[in-house]
């Protein structure tokens, strides 16, 4: 029998159903993997006792014939989701000791369907970052880093902000993990670690109980090792939630059913604006390969134009910080989390927020405060919103000519910790292909497509029409089959 931690979710469900192993056995194997993977620093909080308790309950349900769609599957939860009575940090010092008295809707849905929680995984502080190097709880190491674990000559970043989720899934520590994606935080780390990640349409997953970064862009999604697993997990995560006014009341399709392998006649848009200057040849090459795969499966590539793409990153780095500056105002030391006393209210605020927020978060709060200030609002925030509208139009028009869009997920593969760190703009450029999707609220998926010259995974991105995740799963399945991505990282738990 294959190692339990190497199973896909689909196979694990089969094994559980056929009584090849129990949820407790599956969970125990993963709990051991969590321990073994500690050098990756993927977890902020491990919850082995809770995991085993949930696994026992799962076995009991299965014995009674009441198993849910994800029953017994051990997963990791990005530490941005509030989990009842379990430390929830957003990887920030400011939430020091915070244990919510409530459970996020997305994780509630997962537990309802039987999933088992292994723990809370690391991320960039408040999900702000593209390399998982801004966490108060330390950097996450990409399991693809070459060399001996714990003695890596060159530590690679797992991408971000869902870096802990990506590292845990890639290193076979969890069968899947929740991620959140505000500008690429699911798709880019998925690409950097050779796994699948989907950011569904804005409104698919409830944001209730997810620590907010930029409310109009934040969206939760699954990170798994296969397209099918993402379909299984997304189905459990999403659904209408009256507690989130931006949640959309639409039926949840059985995404797995969409993975038919048949994409004949499908029109695949190839946006010319995504051929950016200085993009490595291997990315270009992989993109070309992707087009060939889809053509071979009977789809038709269509050249499309998304003319406002070049303004997307600038608009994003106005809208997201603006919302974050307001969303993070609640971390003031008054009611929960960190408080550093002062001689006046203002001094307490300054001491608390100065000590509680890291450099990147402070930078974005400052940018956001600036762009919303009287006299600058029109020039920055309002202008950025106009750009956002244009970007939506671009996609609307493109989708008249095509059914799905194919692009690279990121302009490079994983880089080393320490690289691109001096210049925040260089870091922001990582999100150039993913950000427009968030601005337009569309679904986007990253699928591992192959290894680059340095042996590191590269991902292809599919962008779909609003609420047409099914096409992403269908096309993603075809790419997955064609790419035959079977490589495993040097570090596997």
């Amino acid at each position: 029998m294959t190692q339990l931690t190497h199973l896909t979710m689909a196979d694990a469900l089969k094994g559980l159903a056929e009584k090849q192993f129990t949820a407790v056995e599956l969970t125990e194997a993963h709990v051991r993997a969590v321990e073994k993977a500690r050098p990756l620093n993927a977890f902020i909080t491990e919850t082995p006792d809770k995991a085993l308790e949930m696994a026992k309950a799962s076995d009991a349900r299965r014995a009674k014939g009441e198993a849910g769609p994800m029953d017994g599957l051990p997963i990791a939860v990005k530490d941005l989701f509030c989990t009842k009575d379990v430390l929830t940090t957003a990887a920030s010092h400011i939430l020091d000791g915070f244990q919510p008295g409530y459970e996020s809707t997305v994780t509630s849905n997962l537990w309802r369907d039987g999933a088992v929680m292994l723990g809370k995984v690391n991320l960039d502080e408040f999900a702000m970052g593209s390399a998982n190097i801004t966490s108060y709880y330390g950097d996450v190491i990409n399991p693809w880093s070459p060399g001996e674990p714990g003695n890596w000559p060159r530590k690679l970043v797992p991408g971000g902000s869902s870096g802990g989720s990506a590292a845990a899934v890639a290193a076979r520590v969890a069968l899947g993990a929740t991620g959140t994606d505000t500008g690429g935080s699911i798709r880019q780390p998925a690409a950097f670690t050779g796994i699948v990640g989907i950011k569904p349409t804005y409104g698919r997953c409830s944001r209730w109980g997810v620590v907010a970064f930029a409310s109009s862009l934040d969206q939760a999604g699954p990170m798994t090792r296969t397209v099918r697993d993402s379909a299984i997990m997304l189905r459990s995560m999403c659904g209408f939630d009256p507690k989130d006014s931006t949640s959309v009341d639409m039926p949840v399709p059985d995404f797995e059913k969409a993975i038919t392998g048949d994409i004949r006649g499908l029109r695949v848009g190839i946006p010319k604006e995504y051929r950016v200057d200085g993009m490595p040849a291997e990315i270009e090459e992989m993109w070309r390969k992707g087009i060939e795969w889809l053509k071979a499966a009977g789809a038709t590539p269509v050249d499309i134009s998304l003319p406002h793409t070049k303004y997307a990153l600038a608009a994003y780095y106005i809208v997201a910080p603006a919302e974050c500056s307001s969303n993070l105002a609640r971390y003031d030391g008054v009611r929960y989390g960190l408080r550093v006393e002062g001689n006046s209210l203002n001094e307490m605020y300054e001491n608390t927020r100065g000590a509680g927020f890291g450099k990147e978060v402070r930078r974005r709060i400052l940018i956001g405060t600036y762009v919303l200030s009287a006299g600058y609002y029109d020039a920055y925030y309002l202008q950025a919103q106009k750009v956002r509208t244009r970007i939506k139009w671009d996609f609307d028009q493109a989708f008249e000519q095509c059914d799905v869009i194919l692009t690279p997920t990121a302009p490079s593969g994983a880089f080393a910790i320490g690289e691109k760190m001096d210049d925040p703009i260089q870091m922001y450029l990582n999100d150039v292909f993913t950000v427009p999707v968030n601005l337009a609220g569309l679904p986007g998926m990253s699928i591992p497509a192959g290894l680059g010259a340095d042996g590191l995974p590269l991902g292809l991105q599919l962008i779909g029409k609003p609420f047409d995740e099914e096409t992403l799963f269908r096309v993603g399945g075809v790419i997955e089959d064609a790419a035959q991505f079977t490589a495993t990282p040097p570090f596997v738990a």
């Binding site: 929830t88 915070f98 944001r207 907010a212 006014s245 307001s326 003031d332 008054v334």
Partner: protein
């Protein structure tokens, strides 16, 4: 026009008011928490109200309905598309670090309000807008020597901010405005108007100018919590500004506080220190879109409001503007009056209600709802006058007894005390004959031209019948016997 007399001539006061009215609703604007007044601190606080991580606002549809109802009551434009914005500032009792409000696109646009002035005249004042917003919590600075305590019970409670045009020209008009607005809100049932409980608070924008000149620089007096204080604060502030200007100074645009013990306004912060609220649309909430049919439905179920009621009372009951005003300013008073007036002489009913009843209630410190005399019984009393069972004079005594002994009907009292009017001509004649016989000298004087003595005979006759004789009959018989 009321002007302030300054050293350099007349000054006109220009006032605009922003009234914050708490919406009558069991739950808060964006959470299900209760809104009852006077409960233990922090006993009505949800995770949303305390701004815990990941908590999201969900609009309370009933609060929206109340705001629309209020807009309709102010004859205002209802905006079927409105937007919630965040007003960002830090304060310990503002858990989110922002207040959800409406900035550029409020739910209600331009409307109007008719002032009823003491001389019976009216004046129409423009309403600029009405928007919905959340209240903040309360800071308690007096519970600990160095710490401030926070009570979040009010955090998230739904408010309407109702903004007037700068159309008011005196403290009295400002008082009349707040009184009228409160009356309309109470009629609509959208705000209880209890200023002492903080259900209604007022920011007063005040400036002065020489008549005919452009608007002067204004100061805003924040959070005034009674009509008396609104008037006093405006009066003080206007005179302060006149004084500054006449001494050659300039008015600095600033926010001021009303000191309720020293009865002065004090500078709170200048324009330079003013907050930059960094308003932007709240991304947690979708724009609010109203179905015009739903708005129509609310309009159809609107109650009769004070202005319409007043007009009806003046037309149907031929009441004076003054009486009508007094009766309609509270719905309970108007309802009471209508019950009394139904099928009776309206003028008589109005006199009894506004005169005897309101006087007695006022003296006893009672509200109309607490009146010991029920409307039906007061009507019964008037019926007894109308059918000559008792005289108006006796009725006053009966009313006093009714007020003291709630539950007793006027008929019972009249029967018990034997107050029934004597209309038996023979009995009255007999009494008068005795009086004339006993006062022959006075009869002589009267007949020789001392007309004034007629009153004396009337008095004697009433006295002889313990006031129960029908005064008209007494008059008639005396006339006949003395002059006949």
């Amino acid at each position: 026009m009321t002007y302030i007399q300054g050293e350099t001539g007349d000054w006109e006061v220009v006032i605009g008011l922003e009234v914050h009215a708490q919406i009558v609703s069991n739950a808060k604007l964006f959470s299900g928490s209760a809104t009852a007044f006077g409960t233990a601190p922090n006993s009505q606080v949800s995770f949303v109200d305390a701004a815990f991580p990941g908590m999201l606002p969900v609009i309370n549809a009933f609060c929206v309905e109340q705001a629309v109802r209020t807009g309709l009551g102010l004859k205002a434009q209802i905006n079927n598309y409105s937007v919630f914005d965040r007003k960002n500032y830090f304060y310990a009792d503002l858990p989110q670090g922002y207040q959800i409000s409406q900035y550029l696109q409020p739910i209600v646009g331009k409307g109007e309000l008719v002032l009823d002035l003491p001389d019976g005249s009216t004046r129409t004042v423009g309403i600029t807008r009405l928007h919905m917003e959340q209240d903040a919590g309360k800071s308690l600075h007096d519970q600990h020597p160095s710490k401030t305590y926070i009570d979040l019970n009010r955090s998230g409670v739904a408010l309407m901010e109702i903004v007037s045009e700068p159309d008011l020209r005196s403290a009295e008009e400002a008082g009349a405005y707040v009184r009228k607005l409160r009356s309309i809100l109470r009629y609509l049932g959208t705000c209880d108007g209890n200023m002492e409980e903080g259900s209604m608070r007022c920011d007063c924008n005040v400036s002065v100018r020489k008549p005919g000149q452009p608007f002067g620089t204004r100061c805003e007096i924040k959070n005034v919590n009674s009509i008396r204080f609104v008037m006093a604060a405006i009066e003080y502030e206007a005179r302060r500004q006149v004084e500054v200007l006449e001494e050659g100074g300039t008015i600095v645009q600033e926010t001021r506080l009303w000191d309720t013990t020293k009865l002065v306004t004090r500078s709170m912060r200048s324009k330079e220190e003013a907050h930059d609220y960094r308003y932007f649309p709240d991304p947690d909430l979708l724009p609010l879109e109203l179905d015009p049919e739903w708005v129509e439905e609310i309009k159809r179920t609107l109650p009769e409001l004070p202005d319409e009621k007043k007009a009806r009372f003046m037309t149907d009951f031929k009441l004076s503007a003054y009486d009508a005003n007094v009766l309609v300013n509270e719905k309970a008073k108007a309802d009471y009056f209508e019950t009394v007036a139904k099928g009776r002489d309206p003028k008589l009913a109005a006199n009894w209600v506004t005169g005897d009843l309101f006087g007695a209630l006022n003296k006893a410190g009672l509200e109309i709802e607490q009146s010991p005399v029920k409307a039906g019984d007061l009507g019964g009393l008037i019926d007894l006058i109308a059918d000559n069972t008792i005289s108006g004079r006796i009725a006053k005594d009966v009313f006093a007894i009714m007020f003291e002994t709630p539950g007793k009907t006027p008929a019972d009292i009249v029967a018990e005390k034997g107050l029934k009017q004597v209309t038996d001509t023979g009995a009255i004649e007999g009494a008068i004959d005795q009086i004339l016989a006993a006062n022959a000298d006075k009869v002589e004087e009267y007949r020789s031209g001392k007309d004034k003595l007629f009153g004396f005979f009337v008095g004697q006759a009433m006295k002889a019948t313990q006031g129960k004789a029908n005064p008209a009959l007494v008059n008639e018989i005396l006339q006949k016997k003395l002059n006949g």
